[in-house]
Symmetry: C2
Subunit: 418 residues, 2 copies
């Protein structure tokens, strides 16, 4: 039995069939089922194996296309960082191939030619679980280059795991008059249920709109009828596998994009932009990388804060409970951070809602220890923002800016209820 073979595996009560995949674990056999999902099975439990069809080698390589620009359409650059949206998974070996030149794209999604003049560029080829802060800066620089070279809208193909972290990093790093749309897919493009093509079409469409700022575009429900355009600092991956995994938090999406009719329906007002400055991009890619994000829980060890402080960390986001709390047993570490001028700020692990550290004594005490409430900012966004602030401002200024809205990350509201 070889990788790539189509096999039938019999267990006590169930039978699985699918293509044999590489497994890193000696005791497990991994097969990819027709549904496209992989299943790992314990070798010991397999009663019988049958090879239904032997596999063969994948073929690649096609001649380049010759594309002409349509003067009526906008010029959109698609920058690929990797991820499922930008990949062809080789079902025979399980390997993930990058497939993201403009040629690949147009071949895969010919409809794009009616939406915009497409330029494709591979800037990275990673699964987004491996995204690192230094790649955010690299991506920002690629965006600047494209815009200065005439791109009127940018689409970034990105893995979904950390797409919202990158979206918020770009929100703080890039100032421009052009829309920057991050797009991903939950199912790779060689699967019948793939959301890749429709998401890309809708993202390119959104990139031709007269808006500015950083957005995430993904399916808005499990069907194929609507995509949602989310603000880059107000969005989060909230499901591991559904196509509508991304949701705006504490805010509605900014628009619905129909991937079939290409209609765009705005759900809120958009920021006005200055068309005369469309080629101007200001970057600020400085980041203080010594920032940590800590989720708080009952019994959490206060020493963890000392570890970070003693290792030169400059900022810490605490993802607290409820309205923004930590156990009292954690206060010692917070005092230590405070004494050592480490900026500590608070978000909530409830995801939805706003931190309010004036209601309970715990929150008031934390504030007295210098902890900054992050209002209704998502933890992931607060983490990126703190890196950005500490990379650009003195401690006191960073502390003042942390709870203030800079890039749409905070809903300003004197109603503390939210």
């Amino acid at each position: 039995m070889d990788i790539g073979d189509f096999v039938k595996l019999e267990l006590e009560n169930t039978t699985y069939s699918g293509t044999l995949m590489p497994s890193l674990n000696e005791n497990t056999i991994v097969i990819k089922m027709k549904s496209g999902y992989n299943v790992g099975l314990d070798k010991k439990k397999i009663k019988n194996i049958e090879i239904l069809e032997s596999g063969d080698k994948p073929k690649y390589g096609l001649p380049p296309l010759n594309l002409e620009k349509n003067p009526k359409l906008k010029n959109i650059s698609i920058l690929s960082t990797g991820g499922t949206v930008a990949s062809r998974v080789d079902y025979k070996t399980g390997a993930v191939h990058p497939a993201f030149t403009a040629d690949d794209l147009i071949r895969a999604v010919p409809e794009l030619m009616d939406v915009a003049n497409i330029k494709g560029k591979v800037i990275l080829n990673i699964l987004s679980e491996n995204m690192l802060p230094k790649y955010w800066a690299m991506t920002a620089e690629a965006i600047k280059e494209e815009i200065e070279n005439g791109a009127e809208g940018i689409v970034i193909a990105h893995g979904t795991d950390t797409m919202h972290y990158t979206a918020s990093a770009l929100s703080f790093m890039v100032t421009s008059e052009v829309p920057i749309i991050l797009v991903g897919a939950q199912r790779s493009s060689d699967r019948p249920s793939s959301d890749a093509a429709l998401n890309i079409i809708a993202a390119v469409k959104a990139a031709t709109e007269p808006i500015k700022g950083v957005y995430v575009l993904m399916h808005g429900e499990t069907g194929d009828t609507v995509c949602h355009l989310h603000e880059g600092t107000k969005v989060r991956k909230l499901h591991s596998s559904r196509r509508d995994a991304f949701k705006s938090v504490n805010k509605t999406p900014i628009a619905e994009v129909n991937p079939v009719t290409k209609e765009v329906k705005y759900l809120r007002d958009v920021k006005s932009r200055d068309k005369s400055k469309i080629k101007e991009v200001v970057l600020n890619t400085n980041l203080e990388e010594k920032v940590a994000l800590i989720k708080v829980y009952p019994g959490i060890d206060s020493e963890i804060l000392k570890f970070y402080v003693d290792n030169g960390y400059k900022g810490i986001i605490l993802e607290g409970t409820g309205l923004g709390h930590t156990p009292e047993t954690f206060f010692e570490g917070i005092d230590y951070a405070n004494e050592n001028n480490v900026l500590v700020a608070m978000t909530t692990q409830t995801i939805n809602g706003r931190v309010n550290m004036n209601v309970y004594s715990n929150g008031r005490e934390l504030q007295a220890k210098g902890v900054i409430p992050c209002e209704d900012m998502l933890s992931e966004v607060a983490f990126v923002k703190l890196m950005h602030l500490l990379g650009n401002y003195e401690f006191e200024e960073a502390k003042e800016l942390m709870p203030k809205n800079i890039a749409g990350e905070i809903n300003e509201s004197i109603n503390l209820e939210c």
Copy 2:
């Protein structure tokens, strides 16, 4: 201007009025507004202060009630651990008073007398942000005592911040034939919009039902028409302030309870119970407290794992990205944990959905490094479960049990999509 005074504060554009509260921060004035919400204002921004009414001291103390048992009703014990649901906030001083003898309860919610024979007992008086693993055992023991003394159902009044952690701890610790219902409130009982009374009524009602197991009961929507009964290992606080903050994840609630009509509508089948064993309770309160929960993010420092391993930790839950991933730059720390026999298990920070570590190479590599996928278990539950398993089993056995369902924490499904 004294604590308790009703004051009017004028800022540049806004005027606030409310009762002056204690503030721990010299630069801030805290007032409680009519809405019940506290607002903290920067002293420097306050242009004018007017005292509208001076405060006075709160009064407490009432003679005990004389309650007779109704033989037609079940005997329900309400154990209070603290939190908003079990407190009267003194508006004049901002102090939180415990108010949870049976007398207090019946006085506050006389309707309870029609639902059950109530016994009240204060076992702790803390805000749940200060809940510690050792208090879980204390609570389990109090439950056992009540059941052995004739309680036919248990209600635990609990702060909402960490109620779901306690619910899952009790799910693993207590085996009994009696329903154990945790209940909280998002607004304290002295506020007109409080959900405390209705939640308690509905929780007591649920505790009289012929079910067993540990549940959380809270408002099911923002109105007062329906409460939801959630399985204790499948529920999470998902909003910092809304009354329907608790949601079942990857599962529907088990029942709707109408707090007004007291109707109970089951949404799923319930576990059958053995009525003859209704007084039997088996406790297993052993916990390995050296377990950590780590949220993973781009750039996370691999050294953090070494810190935990070197500090004698025995288990680590990684709240990974997407289907259960970490950056490759984190692998070194995972190897170190593995070499030192620290059990590492994976959940997902998407909250919804299931971990599947067979789809991407990252997940497969992590499994080869010994990382155990936690299926569709919530991170908070996985954290508590790992403490429980390492407190009771040898390493290898704990590793085998981690991805298996013990107390409803895993939806068993061969469909890895979920």
